[in-house]
């Protein structure tokens, strides 16, 4: 027993080290747990509140009211443009979509960017609108110029946004004229260039062509501009396309949050094979 205690005292530093590391691993493992989630949200609340106060000093020197008025006008115009553009595309391709998901686009929520980090440790935006204002996870964040990102976590007054220029961000996009579709992602490097993959080599894509979000996306409403083609490189089966992004992330101050796209049937049919099986049996 005495020997055990001697050993215990002798290696207490190592034991302490192992204990702390175990707690850390436990926290990593329980990243999605409720307690961790609450702590995470509290962290965002606190961090964003302090940042908001810091940024308020800057807003003293800007025309705050004028900006808000202009943003309101922009919101209305954007919703009209999106609806009109979608209708034009529908008419051209002679497809009548009865359940238009962009009809709710007029109900955008305005928010101010209170924190932005782009470093090797963090790459995110924080906006001053949380669940109290109706923000939910996976909502689309945009500005009149184009797509900004998607909401990844929400607290009472703030929400954290994963920007388009994050390696984990993916969205289905379509070319404006030829309607070729691909998956947009950002592979690091320059802030203003993203890549579109899986565009078939047979498609007639051109330089300077505009890309917008597609209805195939599970979270984004369609018709939001993403950027313009600046480089096309043909591969064996697909094109590798570089896009000059429509949004300048370095000057982002205000954003709009689009209402959540609710398509339970679509999600169900994509995730559940039993739907098809049941229909066959009937």
């Amino acid at each position: 027993m005495r020997k055990f205690f001697t050993l215990f005292v002798e290696y207490s530093t190592w034991l302490l080290f192992v204990l702390y590391c175990s707690i850390a691993f436990l926290f990593i493992r329980l990243q999605q747990d409720d307690v961790q989630h609450k702590l995470h949200n509290e962290g965002i609340e606190f961090s964003a509140a302090v940042n908001q106060q810091l940024m308020t000093f800057n807003s003293l020197f800007t025309l705050k009211n004028e900006n808000e008025r202009l943003m309101r006008v922009n919101t209305d115009l954007l919703s009209r443009v999106l609806t009109l553009e979608t209708a034009t595309v529908d008419e051209r391709s002679q497809k009548k979509i009865l359940a238009d998901t962009t009809l709710n686009a007029s109900k955008f929520i305005m928010a101010r960017v209170v924190d932005r980090k782009f470093s090797d440790r963090e790459n995110m935006l924080v906006i001053d609108a949380g669940w109290r204002k109706g923000i939910k996870k996976d909502m689309t964040v945009l500005v009149p110029e184009g797509l900004v990102g998607r909401v990844t976590s929400v607290s009472e007054h703030y929400a954290r946004v994963m920007p388009l220029i994050h390696p984990d961000f993916k969205v289905v996009v379509a070319a404006d004229s030829c309607r070729s579709m691909g998956i947009l992602s950002w592979n690091g490097g320059r802030e203003f260039i993203a890549q579109v993959e899986h565009i078939p080599i047979s498609s007639h894509i051109k330089l300077n062509e505009r890309f917008v979000t597609s209805d195939f996306s599970t979270f984004s409403i369609r018709g939001i501009p993403v950027g313009r083609v600046v480089r096309i490189k043909p591969d064996n089966l697909f094109y590798d396309v570089d896009i000059w992004l429509a949004v300048d992330f370095s000057t982002l101050t205000r954003v709009l949050v689009a209402p959540l796209k609710i398509e339970p049937e679509k999600i169900m049919i994509m995730s559940d094979d039993t739907v098809t099986t049941n229909k066959k049996s009937h």
């Binding site: 530093t13 702390y20 509290e42 980090k117 090797d120 995110m124 994050h166 690091g188």
Partner: protein
């Protein structure tokens, strides 16, 4: 001694807030200096390794609360502090101020590199390859930390290290 630890805890809280709200924004080549690591290296050189690990763990908790990535921050800071603890200068040693300073700088470099390596391995917000993140960002951050450590040592810590 207890009073000194309380003072360190207070300093740790202040430094964590300063790191999160000011230093993390001053990036050069997407990397910023880490003042928390410098502070932990100072504690590692001047106190016992057990106390130092606990401070590292506490720094991880604070960093996790502020950034939202609790587990990874706890692990990175604990490991960083543990390794920095090997540069401790025993109280009874007759090391000169220059020798102590050298140990402090070495602790800053090693702890900074290890902390960065763990954080880089666990999170990749800019989409760089793991090797690039660990080697280039790690070395850059260690360099920035070292420059800061030189300044801080020259201005504030020299006397404290000598005592």
């Amino acid at each position: 001694m207890i009073n000194k630890n309380y003072l360190y805890i207070l300093f740790l809280c202040i430094i964590s807030l300063v790191q999160e709200f000011s230093f993390s924004r001053m990036t050069l080549f997407n990397v910023s200096a880490d003042v928390v690591t410098i502070f932990l290296a100072y504690i590692a050189v001047t106190t016992d390794q057990k106390i130092n690990i606990s401070f590292g763990f506490a720094a991880g908790v604070l960093g996790g609360l502020l950034t939202g990535n609790m587990g990874l921050n706890m692990l990175a800071r604990t490991v960083g502090s543990f390794i920095a603890g090997y540069f401790q200068t025993p109280k009874e040693s007759h090391a000169t101020i220059n020798q102590k300073s050298k140990r402090f700088y070495a602790a800053v470099i090693v702890a900074g590199f290890c902390t960065n390596a763990i954080l880089s391995a666990g999170d990749n917000p800019l989409g760089f390859s793991p090797a690039y993140r660990i080697v280039v960002f790690g070395l850059l951050e260690s360099l920035f930390n070292l420059i800061f450590a030189f300044v801080v040592n020259w201005l504030f810590l020299r006397q404290s290290l000598a005592n």
